[in-house]
């Protein structure tokens, strides 16, 4: 709206603000804070504020139900060792300002958060960055496991030019990913802002090539749904979604952080040789192989070639051995042993005996579960240990903690092995 005004008048409104969009002081208050969106009508047409927590929890339950319906009680194999390329469209469509301050800035910020979250959840995986500018795809960074390198490369070149070409990006990524070992899962995540693609050849052939090399392509669109993106995702088994605003874009991006269900033929199971280095003694001096500088003290020694590395996980630069520590492997264990979702307890159910004894307060945080007027409020219960939890603990337990406090507080005899959970 303000852009149109600028074009019509052809001059900047520069009364007392330096805002480049030329909006007045009084309008700025409404740019970010759209308070009319927080109201809702009830049955009789009266206005009332939206109950955010109930909506949030309902969304979360819906998501959980979709996931568990897909799993259907069996343990789905997940691709834990992932080689992911993020393709960002830097064509002129990315300079649009419908996402504030501009699509590029929002994309860069969210991709940075995504990279950190990705390495947090998948410590053994690697990411590479590709950008599309002027119809040509460029590799910003090669596949690597250090978040800082990628973020620095991304933030260095934020400008939008020219056309966008989906085929060139896919060809480039296909070429890079053909060199990764066969046990890894190959994935591409494309952030597409343009509404068209200018390709040198037949993109359908490229899509078939990707399908044959078992590359799983997912697309997040920022403008509108496109047939070619949908076709690409359907053929390769990826996810296609279109973001409606900044918050939605972040949610869609972060959905790709946990490992997707693996299709068994896509990656061949293999034994990977890995090293578990010890921490170097305090005060020892060595030249580290990553920075080529003398370092004192903290660092790790490769068990095969005794070279010093600064950080884990990494690949030893001298002998090529993958170096990890056991917590890195442990970070992925919750994907292998997920906890079952809790069952909802209808809000105004009769106070039966078990509810009366156990259901007065949440087992996890001791918050009272009695709602207004001494009636039982909404809560959830675990199938196995039968304890009651409040809605917030439900979300926290399933999204971050991955342990049910009730099930962990029951003594299990030694004979139950780890894998039988």
């Amino acid at each position: 709206m303000s852009n149109q005004r600028k074009r019509l008048t052809g001059e900047r409104e520069d009364e007392d603000d330096e805002d480049a969009e030329g909006i007045g002081e009084w309008e700025r208050a409404y740019v970010d804070d759209r308070s009319w969106e927080e109201l809702q009508e009830d049955e009789s047409g009266l206005l009332r504020p939206i109950d955010n927590s109930a909506i949030y929890h309902a969304q979360y339950r819906r998501r959980l139900r979709m996931l568990s319906a897909a799993a259907a009680g069996t343990r789905i194999q997940k691709g834990l060792i992932r080689y992911l390329y993020i393709v960002i469209d830097f064509s002129r469509a990315a300079a649009e300002m419908d996402f504030r301050p501009s699509r590029i800035a929002v994309m860069a910020k969210h991709v940075e958060a995504f990279i950190r979250e990705f390495f947090d959840q998948n410590p053994l995986s690697q990411i590479g960055l590709v950008s599309i500018k002027n119809g040509v795809a460029h590799t910003l960074t090669d596949l690597g496991g250090s978040p800082e390198t990628h973020i620095k490369a991304l933030m260095g070149k934020l400008e939008a030019l020219g056309d966008s070409s989906l085929q060139n990006a896919l060809e480039l990524v296909n070429e890079h990913l053909s060199q990764v070992p066969s046990y890894g899962h190959r994935e591409v995540l494309i952030l597409y802002s343009a509404l068209c693609t200018c390709d040198p050849g037949d993109i359908m052939e490229t899509i078939q090539k990707c399908k044959k090399s078992k590359l799983r392509c997912s697309v997040i669109g920022l403008s509108a749904e496109m047939f070619i993106c949908k076709h690409l995702c359907q053929e390769t088994g990826g996810l296609y979604s279109v973001a409606v605003d900044e918050v939605h874009l972040k949610d869609l991006l972060l959905e790709h952080a946990p490992p997707p269900p693996a299709i068994a033929e896509f990656a061949i199971a293999n034994l990977i040789k890995m090293g578990f280095p010890q921490r170097a003694a305090e005060g020892s001096m060595a030249i580290c192989s990553c920075h080529k500088e003398v370092k004192i003290g903290a660092g790790y020694m490769c068990p095969r070639c005794k070279a010093r590395v600064c950080d884990l996980p990494t690949e030893c630069t001298i002998c090529g051995l993958t170096l990890v520590s056991s917590p890195h492997l442990a970070r992925s264990y919750h994907h292998l042993f997920p906890i079952a979702p809790f069952d909802e307890v209808p809000a105004f159910s009769s106070l039966n005996d078990s509810r009366r004894t156990l259901g007065k307060s949440c087992f996890g945080c001791q918050q009272s579960l009695i709602g207004t007027g001494n009636k039982p409020g909404p809560c959830v219960t675990c199938r196995k240990c039968k304890h009651y939890f409040c809605l917030d603990c439900d979300i926290y337990i399933h999204e971050s903690l991955h342990n049910c406090p009730g099930c962990e507080s029951i003594h299990r005899p030694k004979s139950v092995s780890l894998m039988e959970e």
Binding site: A113, L124, G275, Q278, R279, S325, Y333, H334
Partner: protein
């Protein structure tokens, strides 16, 4: 993690969640009796509450067959009509002692129901850690001004390897919430879980040498709030061993083989993964030449 950055902490107000080990199998043979230990701990809790008017203390008991909340200093029901026990304990903690006694009796009943086979000497650390984190998450939800939470684990029982995955999950969740896990280990062997927990979350780990001076260790090392820790010299972590142990022999290894499907660790090359059952190196292209390749099957790369 992005959500934590926007929270505003009051400067040196702390919330201390104390995980108290009440495992009877451990307390039946130690140099210090449980009641002596309790007197050290109660004096320490009093000291923490005295450091700042807004400080808060929550005690969770880690038992053998169950875990439960014992004390929460923010609840007003503590200042009810409890007679002082006559043992010199401050009346503030009379409710704590009563609840602890009830908990220990109930825990003992539950353990008796389970029978005597498979008596692992470990306590339920993962259960009490999970409950502590749920409580801390509730404190974070309560608004912008809240105390800085930390967890202190007072434990003597050895680690239970069956809890490894659950304990690591709790440690990573604590790391994301930026809640340090301090640990004071009063047992005989070393606890690898507690060392790793303190190292990963940025807490302090210490094994006191003389248990009759426990109060001094607790107040000098573990009573400092998070803001002041930058100005105080606390015990540094020494050589935390992060090497993994192989699934087949349980010995710690320097180099091993990882199954790409389920991440199980093996010390020698196998043909089939014993945890997930995937057969290694099987691909449609290799099937024809797999017989001749078997002898030359070296680990990849």
């Amino acid at each position: 993690m992005p959500s934590v950055a926007s929270k505003q902490y009051s400067d040196d107000v702390s919330l201390l969640v104390l995980l108290l080990d009440t495992n009877p199998l451990f307390w039946s043979n130690t140099s210090i009796t449980f009641s002596q230990f309790l007197s050290h701990v109660l004096a320490f809790l009093n000291a923490v509450l005295g450091l700042n008017q807004l400080n808060q203390v929550v005690v969770i008991a880690t038992g053998y067959s169950s875990c439960d909340y014992i004390y929460d200093s923010s609840l007003t029901s503590n200042h009810g009509n409890f007679e002082s026990r006559g043992t010199g304990m401050p009346p503030l903690f009379a409710s704590l002692l009563k609840k602890l006694e009830d908990f220990v009796t109930k825990d003992e009943e539950l353990s008796r129901e389970e029978g005597h086979e498979d008596r692992t000497p470990s306590c339920l650390l993962s259960g009490s850690l999970s409950m502590a984190l749920c409580y801390i998450q509730r404190v974070f939800r309560s608004g912008h001004l809240h105390p800085q939470p930390r967890i202190l684990c007072l434990q003597g029982s050895p680690d239970g390897p069956e809890q490894y995955v659950a304990v690591m999950n709790s440690i990573f969740s604590a790391q994301r919430l930026m809640v340090p896990i301090d640990s004071c280990y009063i047992g005989v062997q070393n606890s690898a879980f507690l060392q790793q927990a303190s190292y990963i979350t940025g807490g302090v780990h210490h094994t006191p040498k003389q248990l009759d001076g426990l109060f001094q260790y607790l107040t000098t090392i573990f009573a400092t709030d998070l803001h002041s820790r930058g100005f105080v010299q606390l015990p540094k972590p020494i050589g935390v061993d992060f090497r993994a142990s192989c699934f087949c022999h349980k010995k710690t290894i320097d180099m091993g083989y990882i199954c790409s499907v389920c991440l199980s660790i093996f010390c020698e090359h196998h043909k089939k993964c014993s945890t997930c059952g995937s057969v290694f190196g099987q691909s449609k292209l290799d099937e024809a030449s797999s017989v001749s390749d078997k002898k030359r099957k070296a680990p990849h790369t």
